[in-house]
Symmetry: D4
Subunit: 227 residues, 8 copies
Amino acid sequence: MTVSQPRRITDLGFARLDVDRAERTGDPEVVFGEGKTPAQIVATLRALHEAHPGRAILATRLSEAAITECAEALPEATLDPVGRTAVLGRGETRGRVAVVAAGTSDLPVVRECATTIGVFGAEPDEIIDVGVAGLHRLLAQLERINEADVVVAVAGMEAALPSVLGGLVGAPLIAVPTSVGYGWNLDGVTAWLATLNSCAPGIVSVNVDNGFGAGVAAARIARRSVR
Amino acid sequence: MTVSQPRRITDLGFARLDVDRAERTGDPEVVFGEGKTPAQIVATLRALHEAHPGRAILATRLSEAAITECAEALPEATLDPVGRTAVLGRGETRGRVAVVAAGTSDLPVVRECATTIGVFGAEPDEIIDVGVAGLHRLLAQLERINEADVVVAVAGMEAALPSVLGGLVGAPLIAVPTSVGYGWNLDGVTAWLATLNSCAPGIVSVNVDNGFGAGVAAARIARRSVR
Amino acid sequence: MTVSQPRRITDLGFARLDVDRAERTGDPEVVFGEGKTPAQIVATLRALHEAHPGRAILATRLSEAAITECAEALPEATLDPVGRTAVLGRGETRGRVAVVAAGTSDLPVVRECATTIGVFGAEPDEIIDVGVAGLHRLLAQLERINEADVVVAVAGMEAALPSVLGGLVGAPLIAVPTSVGYGWNLDGVTAWLATLNSCAPGIVSVNVDNGFGAGVAAARIARRSVR
Amino acid sequence: MTVSQPRRITDLGFARLDVDRAERTGDPEVVFGEGKTPAQIVATLRALHEAHPGRAILATRLSEAAITECAEALPEATLDPVGRTAVLGRGETRGRVAVVAAGTSDLPVVRECATTIGVFGAEPDEIIDVGVAGLHRLLAQLERINEADVVVAVAGMEAALPSVLGGLVGAPLIAVPTSVGYGWNLDGVTAWLATLNSCAPGIVSVNVDNGFGAGVAAARIARRSVR
Amino acid sequence: MTVSQPRRITDLGFARLDVDRAERTGDPEVVFGEGKTPAQIVATLRALHEAHPGRAILATRLSEAAITECAEALPEATLDPVGRTAVLGRGETRGRVAVVAAGTSDLPVVRECATTIGVFGAEPDEIIDVGVAGLHRLLAQLERINEADVVVAVAGMEAALPSVLGGLVGAPLIAVPTSVGYGWNLDGVTAWLATLNSCAPGIVSVNVDNGFGAGVAAARIARRSVR
Amino acid sequence: MTVSQPRRITDLGFARLDVDRAERTGDPEVVFGEGKTPAQIVATLRALHEAHPGRAILATRLSEAAITECAEALPEATLDPVGRTAVLGRGETRGRVAVVAAGTSDLPVVRECATTIGVFGAEPDEIIDVGVAGLHRLLAQLERINEADVVVAVAGMEAALPSVLGGLVGAPLIAVPTSVGYGWNLDGVTAWLATLNSCAPGIVSVNVDNGFGAGVAAARIARRSVR
Amino acid sequence: MTVSQPRRITDLGFARLDVDRAERTGDPEVVFGEGKTPAQIVATLRALHEAHPGRAILATRLSEAAITECAEALPEATLDPVGRTAVLGRGETRGRVAVVAAGTSDLPVVRECATTIGVFGAEPDEIIDVGVAGLHRLLAQLERINEADVVVAVAGMEAALPSVLGGLVGAPLIAVPTSVGYGWNLDGVTAWLATLNSCAPGIVSVNVDNGFGAGVAAARIARRSVR
Amino acid sequence: MTVSQPRRITDLGFARLDVDRAERTGDPEVVFGEGKTPAQIVATLRALHEAHPGRAILATRLSEAAITECAEALPEATLDPVGRTAVLGRGETRGRVAVVAAGTSDLPVVRECATTIGVFGAEPDEIIDVGVAGLHRLLAQLERINEADVVVAVAGMEAALPSVLGGLVGAPLIAVPTSVGYGWNLDGVTAWLATLNSCAPGIVSVNVDNGFGAGVAAARIARRSVR
């Protein structure tokens, strides 16, 4: 019997690291955890950390097993089981991003986004439990929200929050629709369609539950902002 | 050559009138104008008016030509070219319905709904231009909205208005998604999905642009309400 | 290793209770059980019960484990494993809601709806096994249905029941499409589309399987009704 | 300049007639009118009539212009401007098909179906205006419906009619969903999904508005039926 | 603690049997197994068998556990683990139905259909492995297929089989699209759309994988057929 | 005969102007031209221009008739028949936005976006005809693109351009999917899905053909940017 | 008034010609006619013909007006009003492509495909009216089809033709789904899904009605083929 | 108790082998592993190998258990656990196919495709990790890609790779969309739509993740190619 092998050997046996990317775009390195074994994640984080000792390295979408493995193998890592992230190293930050969420159910997306913002060079400010069905709580946080350079609005269900915020703030506003819902919400497509059809102009959005993508975009904007 | 004929002759040649319906459900008679000629609409309105002289008769979805024909042939009718309705006769009203709308583009649906409410026995109160992107205008009308027995929220695009209202009022709340939008909104399905996935509990909804259906439901509730 | 923590501490560590909501909308407090641990559900129910001792508190979408935990920890609670609800305390009721269902498969939605109606202040009357394919059974219950202030029609598959009822009753009629089906029914969207396109005017609807939402709306209408 | 020509010359220049088909399947010849000029339709009907003088020939989906052209050029044809059909010649019929419809808006589909049934060898019986929202009218026709060998239920909107009939009759039952609707009904897909998810077993269906297809199937069944 | 109970007691505690249905439509009784426990299925089968000793009783969509339970508790039952059916009793049959399938993957649907045909009073003839990609095998069975009173074509993937058969046979033809596929086939909707858009006129269809529904329809037609 | 009137009189009879909005969000006033008559557009532009003489006013989605009417009535306006916009007045600009497009078919969206950017306070730089199928042309413009503070990538069909740009530039990147296509592209949803699923992280997007929305967002970011 | 102008001047004022493309891919130049004026099409064809005198130039999707304009202005062009194409010049051909179609309704797609094949360097052989519902006509052409180097199967409705051909021929097989249909066929998506889910392995497909794309692919394969 | 049996006995009890297929189309035999037991797969491979000793036999979509069983029972087989294939025997190859992939996540599809190419008679060349977000890596492999007779582009997410390749190579190009994605990508339909709407002409595609289908098509083209 012959079990055939992949023909192209790469640095780590399962992935070819593109160590030049950071130089080209100014962004840190990221390991997407889904579909990788805990051992692969630890090895990749280590290799990237050694290649870029002066910068932060981020891993996202980690399973519980991967979080546990990282906790043991990488004691210097900062881990977040809710947002399912691991961070190695630390970079400088500049500018501030308010990450506003309609409910506690959206917390995993909020945390993935906030951690990403930190790694990509800006300061996140999480403001949760300020959904539109309890408008007074949202209005109570308005001053704090308006101090940010960029606002990320994380919202599931009918995703009315970005529209309400759009009429209240002048900063760049990124909407993250989430798959959170109590019934037939098409796994977040309702929220997604809502963010793209907002009556408040200038709202941009990312894919459903994509806290990482929104964090990258928000940090890129915030770290170049001047107040 | 032989042109075959429909086999079943009815009262008016093109429709069999069900004059007992009002007795069975307590509702007035309605003529759905789409697909009918102006002459057919006038004839049907007249026949129903004669059968029910003491009650209001409503025609909806009238074309411009039908409005003009009604204006000439039925001088006693009340016509609304925006809501595309005609009303013959008048009934008593009981209870009040606030019809709240996010924008002037939703006016045709608002007017169809308000006229229906009047014909089905309650008093409509139209409150337009109070979308969520200008929250202060909505809050300025809150007291007036809270005086109604039923609230109908008409909203297109991402339809955030019903959710915001749902956190502010305690009366029964009916959402009417509309097909109003500036881009790819799937002809109102975005608004529709939004109303069905609202974070505010107890919101019920009707089909896209169905001001008539919401009006029927709202009037049924309002005319039985006690404050 | 550092495991980061959520920054905003709330009353119970995992949810910020909005104890003013009842005053604002007149509605009781509700705990949505999906995604919460049994211990969290018990703790939240207790906290809300202490904050509102004179009112009923409802928990919905409870897992089997949560039902068991509630049975042990909250002996005064009324539990329904079919409708997956728990109720603490009791309020007054006013008006009556008929909850009509096409089949026994819809029972979980019927029960969630009926329990919600009771907690939100009206009297539910469950009438099951009266689908349109056995019309005589439905007609046999018509007098009883017509005694209600509001009718809720729960129906899966092609959801013909609301339309048939719409021609027979004059009370406000709320349709709840369910995901019950024997084949490819798009997880209830067939039933949902059917309720929104009913040939009987004035039917309003809620999301698929949303017995809770229909119950809230029905109770709000029924408790203000005068016969 | 050279305008290129189709390479394959056929009998009529624009269509190759398959005059053997009738022998193979026992079915008459049919001309589908959509996309053909009035002159092409007349020529094709004539050619088929000459090839099969002892059998009926059917043309469907005729435009107004084609109906007019047929009236002038083929005086012996039976034309139906509502169902948009033309028939030349006449065959024997055997068995009876009840074509039941929920509303007058469905009449074009009913007529296309009934004419097809006649051409394909059975006797059609049109029974219209018997929708489920007025149940007493449907029940009043039940005996007549039960005398048919096959029942075709034509229904738009939520298409509840086939399900109600399915519980009342024992004959083979074919549902024809139509695109008739007052709002967002996805051009008949709501009715279509409803017929396929009927709670009454044994209902088969055809494409939206396909009165022709249902007619072919119904006639094939009826003309082989024994009571 | 109080666990609330369903209010309506029925014959078996979990289902109200409609023993009059057979008289009304001439069809046998059927137990849909999905969502029922093995014990409930056995009890329902027994009760129906006692109520209708001279007729066949069918149970469909049985789990492996239900099949095992039936094998032990109902030794006189005929069980089919592939088609997931159980049959108690036996009725007369009249007429023949060819059940033609494109591949062995469609066998569960074929078997459910064939068993249903037998219970509903006609003789099934299973002809499998005759897909269009191996046309010679299909043509080799053509004479046998043409001897049937009704043809059921079971086909997944692109479901070309019904169209090919439609050009070859003159008997009533029912298509059953299946969810069988090797890639992204939308769980059978590709096959479903194909059957509804067939270029061969007169094909009717049922829901995806609905061998039972096709069997009911086919048997109703076949047992009334005269050759 | 009585033709009913809208009850709420506003400044211009057909729209209530919200002249405070600019103060609240820092954005200029915009008139959405779709559904408005040329006369209404001219009147609204004039009223807003008088209310904000020191700022630019933008009108979008103008019909040919509206462009002609503006050309006559508002000689000081800057009109763009391709992008369908009119601009009155002029504000200061700060920062630069590259608007990159895959093809000339996308030009209307590019122009609407560029004009919006100018009105909202940044400098647009249009770079067209640089699609991915001719990679060398895109690479030839890379230096110029990298000088911008924000990049807007306008792309129809399969919308590969944003992904390719995402790997080449480090500035914030906004994708505008367009409905441009040669076949079945679902009116732009293919491009839309592509932008949301880009393999290049940090891309945000707006609705199909929404050059205006992308322009608002891009200008907000650019005018706060520091290089 | 100032009407702004596009900033980038190209060769023809409305399009930048990429005269190097042919060298890079070996393909001829093509003008996509949709959205271009007749004058623009004539001018572009002329410019490309002058740049590549020794090669064929193709224009597709021409309106009637454009065909007329080409007939007058470019007398040496070969025009096809059915396939909506114009060809200038002539190249060598190598290899043969059978373009097989199910019906005459598919002729425009067949012709666009055949003309494209000729321009891209292979010999087309059109074989129409050989749908699966008349299997004997298809089998009669089998020998001729099997002589081709590549087979293109053009089919609308349920698109069974590619699957049937897939079991009969061994040459590369390209399916072109068309939007031809008699009812609700989702504008060709039914045919499209069918071609992608074919039970015959190795079938590749292009977008709906994309005869051009299939022609390009087929010619590329055929002109490199050795028998 | 009687457990009914399938009526048609075939060679192996569960499948009728079509040993003539290879003669008819020139293709080798293939066993589709999904839904078959490891024992059935081994038995079928053996039977086919004995029937065609001089040709390669392929099994695809093998489970881990099936791979293990094949390793033990068929020591002469070549197994690939990544691509989930088994191969018995060996045929000659002619022509070369480049299989190009955007990322390592697409490896299973790449391997299934490459193995299929080998079995169907051409030489595969796998070139992975050359996605469009890192354009320099793709350009570095361009010479090698251009040496192939056919190019297969395997790509998930937004599938921009085929379009970029389409502008760079002149060989026949087959796109394989994959279901690889980081968020809401509709299980590959985004990639699928992208390949069908590519701006680069002449790209053909197969179903999502269908490496096998692309391999069959590519090998058929390559083995007839002349350079």
